[in-house]
């Protein structure tokens, strides 16, 4: 019975994986903030000794600094959600980054949405008429399935551009380190395993492998949680947090 939940995975596995992810993510994030908190409040001042509170206080005061030429909302939209600073410099890099950014965000949102639906169904008895038992719950929401596919391809486009840049542009290739490979490679594995585990389900062209669809989905989900969430504070994924904060503290702008 449990197998119908969480894309065919057992409830226990999912809860353990998600609990571990949340601990790793927030633990790592606090640790990073502590590291940033070793810096000083301002030029020439003493360091703050790793104060997370000091870091957050300063961060907020800088984000909402009245000296910024544009408002926080403008910065958020134009410089973080639309990423015009990248667009201004390179259209190719902007296409690469905006597709990865929005692909990642939307897939994350849809995954969380289905997770909430599954919890509501399991514990609240909701969506009883909508959900088809014996099938992964997401399949009971065709719109989400379609959007998952669309944004999966969006993410794939971005990741493929990123890989191509690192393979075929000499200077980018020469400058590539494990730090970069971990990010791009991780995203590539996630998006590919996502497609493969979906194609293994009944009704798709790899359905002859449907027996191993659940473990394939497990692999995809666990590495997604690992790469896309848990490892954020410890790898190049940290830029997902640090870069928008840097842009916000400087007030954005072209």
């Amino acid at each position: 019975m449990d197998m119908e939940y969480y894309s065919g995975l057992s409830f226990l596995i999912m809860i353990v994986a998600e609990f571990a992810t949340v601990i790793l993510f927030f633990g790592g994030l606090l640790f990073q903030m502590k590291k940033w908190g070793y810096g000083s409040e301002g030029y020439g001042k003493e360091g703050q000794g790793g104060s997370i509170g000091g870091f957050l206080k300063l961060l907020l005061s800088q984000i909402f600094d009245k000296k910024h030429e544009q408002g926080v909302l403008t910065t958020l939209v134009m410089d973080i959600l639309i990423q015009r600073r990248i667009l201004q410099r390179s259209v190719l890099r902007w296409v690469m980054h905006i597709t990865i950014f929005w692909g990642w965000i939307m897939l994350f949102v849809f995954s969380m949405l289905i997770f909430v639906v599954e919890l509501l169904h399991k514990y609240g008895g909701m969506f009883g008429d909508t959900i088809t038992h014996g099938r992964p719950i997401v399949e009971s929401f065709p719109v989400i399935v379609t959007l998952n596919e669309v944004f999966g391809y969006v993410l794939l486009i971005g990741v493929l551009i990123a890989i191509a840049r690192r393979l075929f542009i000499t200077e980018v290739r020469n400058g590539t380190t494990f730090y970069d490979v971990f990010l791009t490679g991780g995203l590539f594995i996630i998006v590919i395993t996502g497609f493969i585990s979906e194609w293994m389900r009944e009704g798709y062209f790899l359905e002859q492998y449907s027996a191993i669809a659940p473990p394939a989905a497990l692999f995809h989900v666990v590495i997604s949680l690992l790469f896309c969430v848990a490892m954020i504070p410890f790898t190049k994924y940290i830029h997902i947090i640090a870069t928008p904060l840097s842009i916000l503290t400087h007030g954005g702008g072209e």
Binding site: K35, G39, Y43, V172, G175, L245, S246, T249
Partner: protein, 437 residues
């Protein structure tokens, strides 16, 4: 057992800077713009003891790799592993290698301008440099001499009593005035023609002004850029108090280095908090007077149309660092007869001349190569004159021109104005005439 100190500490870095170091996405945009990396990549310059670098090693001089180097070293001292097992020691030669790379930078700021993550790179480099000096790893090469030179309160070890020795007899310097002209060491001792032109133009426009004379000490740009801050507070507060004693409301600058240092760096050292006067580039000040009607174009009383093709080099300091672009251009555009032409790279994307960040003193060969690139930019638009508002750019670009086959000449903005106004720029007899650049 005492816990080991991280090999690279976070001293002098602000929380924002530590965040910014992690914010670098390693997109590589800075590689396309960094003037130092450009020379190293093209092998027109090879840093000392780095002969035979391959393409990957050359990238260590690019901003992206400098930030990566800092991130890795800081993480070894403050990362998870360091918390569990103590900071991982980094061989001192590796830290010194990174230090050398970060001192190979003019702090021109183009990397920060094009940075997708909005990293204020100049401030990060300067914090690292200060950290390096604190740990006796910096500064670099002849930059160590700046502190000794400043025992005389100017960077040329000249007599402070001679600070105004170049002022023509017919120029009146008020004892007190709302406006003060901060000359800077270079115009006072080595490019007196710029000082003469500035004072003559101000006088011709009936702008009363004062000057600090012997009480004008070095603006400390050379110290801030190279991380040697021991004297900075004393010098800044001295200059500030001297200005306050004169009752100054506006300080104007014909030196981009002094201008940048005063408006951005002085508040960091001034004990009194916010600066009690306004700081403006002289072109900004003139432009304002023209806009508010205090001055009109006819007040310039042009006498000699400049029938030459002129191109303007935005200094990094007044341009990218402070953001003054339009005002100097509006002033140039008033000069009759001038054929004003822009180089391919201007304003916030201008190419650094190579003089700043201690490079002229620390790595002069590199400074010269970068200057030559800028001269080539001016040659490409068939300019007769390259002009700027920075005596330090002037010196380096002139060095670049002297090392090349070019008919270009350099003139400061104030020289151009003074000449077109028919003002006499003869230097009065003084002990520094044979030292003029």
């Amino acid at each position: 057992m005492a816990r080991r100190e991280p090999s690279l500490t976070t001293e002098r870095f602000t929380t924002s800077q530590l965040l910014e170091i992690d914010a670098c996405t390693r997109c590589g945009e800075c590689l396309d713009w960094c003037p130092v990396y450009e020379e190293i990549r093209e092998e027109t310059f090879t840093p000392e003891d780095r002969e035979g670098m391959n393409d990957v090693q050359k990238m260590d001089f690019a901003p992206k790799n400098k930030l990566t180097g800092m991130r890795e070293m800081i993480n070894k001292g403050y990362g998870l592993r360091a918390k569990l097992f103590g900071p991982k020691q980094i061989p001192e030669e590796d830290v010194l290698k990174l230090k050398d790379e970060i001192y190979h930078c003019t702090t021109c700021g183009i990397c920060g301008t094009v940075c997708e993550a909005s990293i204020n790179t100049v401030e990060v480099w300067e914090s690292f440099r200060r950290n390096a000096v604190m740990h006796k790893r910096g500064p670099f090469g002849k930059q160590t001499g700046f502190v000794d030179l400043l025992a005389s309160h100017n960077v040329f070890k000249a007599d402070q009593e001679d600070r105004l020795c170049w002022v023509p007899e017919d120029v009146e310097i008020k004892d007190k005035a709302d406006v003060a002209y901060f000359t800077g060491c270079t115009a006072a001792y080595r490019m007196q023609r710029v000082g003469v032109a500035t004072t003559k133009v101000l006088q011709a426009l009936d702008i009363p002004f004062t000057m600090l004379g012997p009480e004008e000490w070095c603006c400390v740009s050379v110290l801030v850029r190279t991380g040697q801050l021991e004297l900075a507070e004393e010098f800044v507060n001295h200059n500030m108090n001297a200005m306050i004693d004169k009752g100054v409301k506006t300080v104007i600058y014909a030196c981009a280095g002094c201008h940048r240092t005063s408006i951005i760096d002085w508040p960091k050292f001034y004990e009194g908090g916010d600066l009690p006067f306004e700081i403006l580039a002289i072109s900004e000040y003139m432009d304002r007077l023209l806009n508010d009607g205090t001055l009109s174009e006819s007040d310039f009383e042009w006498k000699h149309p400049l029938k030459q093709r002129v191109t303007f080099h935005d200094s990094c300091h007044t341009g990218r660092h402070v953001g003054v672009y339009d005002e100097p251009r509006r002033i140039y555009n008033m000069v009759p007869g001038m054929d004003f032409v822009e180089m391919a790279r201007t304003r916030e994307l201008q190419r650094c001349c190579g003089a700043g960040g201690g490079i002229k003193a620390g790595v002069s060969d590199l400074a010269l190569k970068m200057a030559q690139k800028r001269v080539q930019d001016a040659d490409l638009v068939n300019a007769d004159i390259i002009t700027s508002t920075c005596p330090f750019c002037r010196r380096n670009i002139m060095d670049g021109m002297n090392a090349m086959d070019t008919n270009l000449i350099f003139k400061d903005q104030q020289e151009i104005l003074a000449e077109a106004m028919g003002l006499d720029l003869t230097l009065p007899d003084n002990p520094y005439l044979d030292k003029q650049m």
